[in-house]
C-alpha cells in the first residue's frame, strides 16, 4: 500500500524553476516561456515526442476494461437466464446490483485492498460490479419486449422453454442487451482511469503522475474518450452482424 504514498502530487512541486504543476524534471530543456515550461493548453511538439509513454498505459487500460466488461456480461447474463426461470429473483438482484453501483469506485478499491492487495484484481472487481446493473436491467427489459406472437409461434413449433429462450427470446432481445453493454462499456472506460488507485495502472497512471500538466491531461482525456468511442462503434457493428434481420435500423 506504500506505492501510493510515493507519488507526491505534481501540483505541490512549485519550489523549483518549473512552472506550478510541472514536475521539475520537465523543465531541464525548456525555458519558462516555452509551451511546456509555461504549461500551455496543448503542446503539440511535446505530445508528438512523448507519445510512446502512453502506449503501455493505453493497452493496460484496454485490458482492464475488457476483463471487467466481459466478466460483467457473463455474470449479468447468467443472472438474466436464472431470473427468467425464477421470476422472484429479479427484485433482489436489481436491489443488490443497485447497492453495488452506489459505492463510489475510490471507496470500493480501498475497501478491497486489505483483501486482494494492489493489482489488477482490486481494479477489476468494482468495475465488473458496476456493469451488472445496467446489463441486467436492459436484458430483462429486452426479454419483456419480445412480441408474444413470436413466443407463441415458437411454442406452436414444439419448442421447450429452454429452446424458446435461446432461439427466440434472447435473439430478439439482442438490441436491448447490446444497448446495455454499450452503456456499460463506455462508462467502464471512463471509470477505469481511477484503476491506478488500486495499483492496476491504465491511463490514470500517466494522468496522475503529471496531473498539473495540461497537455498530459488532454492527451489522457482524448485517449480515454477515443477508446470509449471506438469500443462503442465495435459493439454497434457486432449488433448489426448478429441481428441481420434488423437491417440498417440500429444506428
Amino acid at each position: 500500500m506504500n506505492e501510493l504514498a510515493l507519488h507526491v502530487p505534481a501540483v505541490a512541486d512549485t519550489a523549483g524553476k518549473c512552472a506550478p504543476g510541472l514536475p521539475s524534471s520537465f523543465c531541464h530543456h525548456h525555458s519558462l516561456s516555452g509551451c511546456v515550461g509555461g504549461n500551455g493548453l496543448f503542446c503539440f511538439g511535446w505530445a508528438v515526442d512523448n507519445f510512446d509513454r502512453y502506449v503501455t498505459p493505453f493497452f493496460r487500460h484496454l485490458e482492464i476494461v475488457g476483463i471487467s466488461v466481459v466478466a460483467g456480461f457473463v455474470i449479468a447474463m447468467a443472472l438474466v437466464v436464472l431470473s427468467h426461470r425464477y421470476r422472484a429473483l429479479a427484485p433482489p438482484v436489481l436491489g443488490f446490483t443497485g447497492v453495488l453501483y452506489t459505492v463510489p469506485s475510490v471507496a470500493f478499491f480501498f475497501l478491497l485492498l486489505p483483501l486482494t492487495g494492489f493489482g489488477l484484481t482490486t481494479a477489476v472487481i468494482p468495475l465488473t460490479a458496476y456493469t451488472l446493473q445496467i446489463i441486467y436491467r436492459n436484458a430483462l427489459a429486452g426479454l419483456a419486449n419480445v412480441p408474444p406472437g413470436a413466443k407463441d409461434a415458437g411454442r406452436g413449433m414444439g419448442m421447450t422453454a429452454q429452446q424458446l429462450l435461446w432461439r427466440v427470446e434472447l435473439p430478439l432481445a439482442t438490441p436491448e442487451i447490446i444497448a446495455g453493454l454499450r452503456i456499460a462499456t463506455v462508462s467502464t472506460v471512463a471509470i477505469a482511469t481511477l484503476a491506478f488507485l488500486a495499483g492496476a495502472g491504465g491511463l490514470g497512471q500517466p494522468l496522475y503522475e503529471q496531473n498539473g500538466f495540461k497537455t498530459n491531461i488532454i492527451i489522457v482525456g482524448a485517449l480515454a474518450m477515443g477508446m470509449a468511442l471506438a469500443l462503442d462503434l465495435v459493439l454497434v457493428l457486432i449488433q448489426r452482424l448478429v441481428t441481420p434481420w434488423r437491417k440498417a435500423r440500429t444506428w
Binding site: M1, N2, L4, A5, P9, V11, G21, N39, L41, V99, T102, V103, P104, S105, V106, A107, F108, F109, F110, L111, L113, P114, L115, I183, V186, S187, V189, A190, I191, T193, L194, L197, L203, G204, L207, Y208, N211, G212, F213, K214, I217, I218, V220, G221, A224, M225, A228, L229, D232
Partner: protein, 248 residues
Amino acid sequence: MAESEDVVTVSLAFLHAFGGAFDFILHQREAATKGGVAVGGPGYIWTFARTQLEVSAVALGGSIAIALPAGLVLGHLGRGEFFAVGFGNAGRAVPEIAVVFLLAAVIGIGLGNVAIALGILGLPPILTNTFVAVRQVDRTAVEAAEGMGMTSAGVIARIELPLAAPTIMSGIRTAAINIFATATIASFVGLSTLGDLVTGENIYGTDGVVAGAIVIALLAMVIELVLAGVQRLVTPRGLTLQRSREAA
C-alpha cells in the same frame, strides 16, 4: 488443507483491517507519522466529510440550476434532441478525474473551482433525463392544458414538470452520486475531502484508509436513499395510480 488455511488468513486480515478501521472512525489516535498529531475519531472525520458534502451540494445545486431549466425548455419546444441526448451519452465517456485536473490547471484550485468541475459532471444526466421525461409526458394532458388557455410557462410548470418529476429525479440521483464520488478525488487538487484519508496511508495508516472508504460508501448510500425518498415524494399521486392500473 492449505486452502482452508488461506481462507482463515484472509478472514483474519479482513477482521483486522475492518476492526481497525472502525476503531479509527470511533476513537482518536496518534498519526502514523508520529509527532503527537492526533487523527481519527468522529469529529476529525466529520471535517473531511463536511467539506466533501459541501462541495458536492454546491456542485449539484449549480448543475440543477443550469440543466433543469434547459431540459424543460428544450423538451417543451421539442428542439435539440440530438444535443440533449447526445450530451448525456458523451458525458458518460468523460473521465471525471481528467476534468478535475484540467479545471484545476486552467482555473485553479479551491472549493469554488472544484465545485465548477464537479458541476460540469452533473449536467449531462440531468439535462438528458429532463429532456426525455418532458417528451414522454402524455400529449393529451398538454393539449388539454393548452385548450384551457394555459400559457407555455404554465404548461411547463404545472403539467410537464410534475409529470416528468420522477424521471428528472432519477437523473438528479445519478448526478448526485457521480458528483459525490468524484468529490473524493478532489483531495488531489488540494481540497480536504474524505479522499485525503484514503490516499493518506503514510499519515493515517491502513486503518484510516479503510475507515475513509467505509465512510465514503456509507455517505453515498445515505445520499441515494434520501434522494430516492425525494423521488417518491415528488411523484404525483395520479401517476402512481395510473401505473398500478397499467400493471394490473
